[in-house]
């Protein structure tokens, strides 16, 4: 306890005169044997200090509670951001898969169309070949003049062969153009 009258009492009187109030634990160690007016002043200081402490404690507690709420909100936000990112990644993956499927479907349709064209073309070629061959064979068997028919038959076969290669070339070209990468 501080008891020196020369120092404390004088200091406290000056503080009282200037309406300066002491704060903190210092007030608690002042002697209770001070003169009545100084004692009254010290008691006032104590009461004010206690009041200020109480207010500060309440405010600090509020800030602490708000901090906790903010921390919790930040944690929830972080989790939501991660969840959204995951969902975005998943959506992008699904979109890529859908685009890939669509591309594949388009290619398949193209190939099916090409296959149909090839089949029809081959059937036409074979049918024309067969028809011409039957005509030529019939003419030979009936001992008719086959000069014109023979030339026509060989010309026709040449043309059909050329067309066949042309079709095969076209198919190969389409396949190459629609190839991945």
């Amino acid at each position: 306890m501080i008891t020196s009258k020369d120092t404390v009492e004088e200091a406290l009187r000056k503080a009282k005169a200037k309406k300066v109030y002491l704060e903190g634990n210092f007030v608690k160690i002042l002697s209770k044997t001070l003169p009545a007016d100084v004692k009254e002043y010290v008691e006032e200081c104590k009461a004010r200090d206690k009041n200020a402490r109480r207010k500060r404690l309440d405010v600090t507690k509020q800030v602490q509670a708000q901090n906790k709420e903010l921390e919790e909100a930040a944690t929830i936000n972080k989790a939501l951001v991660i969840e959204l990112q995951n969902e975005k990644d998943e959506a992008e993956k699904l979109r890529d898969e859908a685009v890939e499927d669509l591309d594949l479907m388009q290619k398949r349709t193209q190939f099916e169309l090409i296959g149909l064209i090839v089949k029809v073309a081959l059937i036409v070629i074979v049918m024309v070949g067969i028809t011409t061959t039957i005509l030529y064979t019939t003419a030979l068997m009936m001992e008719k003049d086959t000069t014109l028919l023979g030339n026509a038959w060989s010309n026709l076969f040449g043309i059909l062969l050329t067309n066949s290669f042309s079709i095969i070339g076209t198919i190969m070209g389409v396949k190459y153009a629609t190839k991945d990468d």
Binding site: G24, N25, K28, I29, D49, K50, R53, R54, R56, L57, T60, K61, V63, Q64, A65, N67
Partner: protein
């Protein structure tokens, strides 16, 4: 009134809460607050090597999980009690009430466990009432809920 208190807690805001609560309850005139167990460890090591000096606190409150420290509050209590000569009233002040952790703290020589909450003052008031018993090593371990 407790001669001097040391608080080890990573939350700076709690330092203010604890300081004001101690002041309102007239618990102590000397309060030091640290935010890491490493710092507290260094101080206790120093006090242990240099012998009992005035700076050594009479009572220590340690948080359970001290973020940013090499070890938790229970390990700090173990070090103080076994490596640095004991001699202080020491316990945990934490928001946790995990029974396993409470048993661990008891096992390393903690004398009390105070649960942090919005209303810390009533618990500290009860603690102050029991303090002499802790100082004289007469009181058993107690949880202030």
């Amino acid at each position: 009134m407790i001669d001097s208190i040391l608080l080890v807690d990573d939350e700076d805001l709690f330092h203010l809460v604890f300081e004001d609560a101690c002041s309102l309850l007239d618990m102590t005139l000397s309060l030091q607050a640290l935010d890491s167990s490493d710092e507290a460890d260094k101080l206790f090591k120093k006090w242990f090597v240099e012998g009992p000096i005035d700076e050594r606190p009479e009572c220590v409150f340690v948080d359970l999980n001290i973020i940013g420290s090499s070890f938790d509050g229970i390990e700090l209590i173990r070090k103080i009690n076994t490596d640095y000569g004991n001699g202080v009233v020491i316990g945990i002040i934490s928001s946790s009430d995990d029974n396993q952790e409470i048993d661990k703290a008891k096992g390393v020589g903690a004398q009390f466990w105070i649960i942090k909450s919005d209303e810390i003052e009533p618990r500290l008031e009860d603690f102050v009432k029991d303090y002499e018993g802790y100082k004289n090593k007469e009181n058993p371990f107690k949880v202030y809920k």
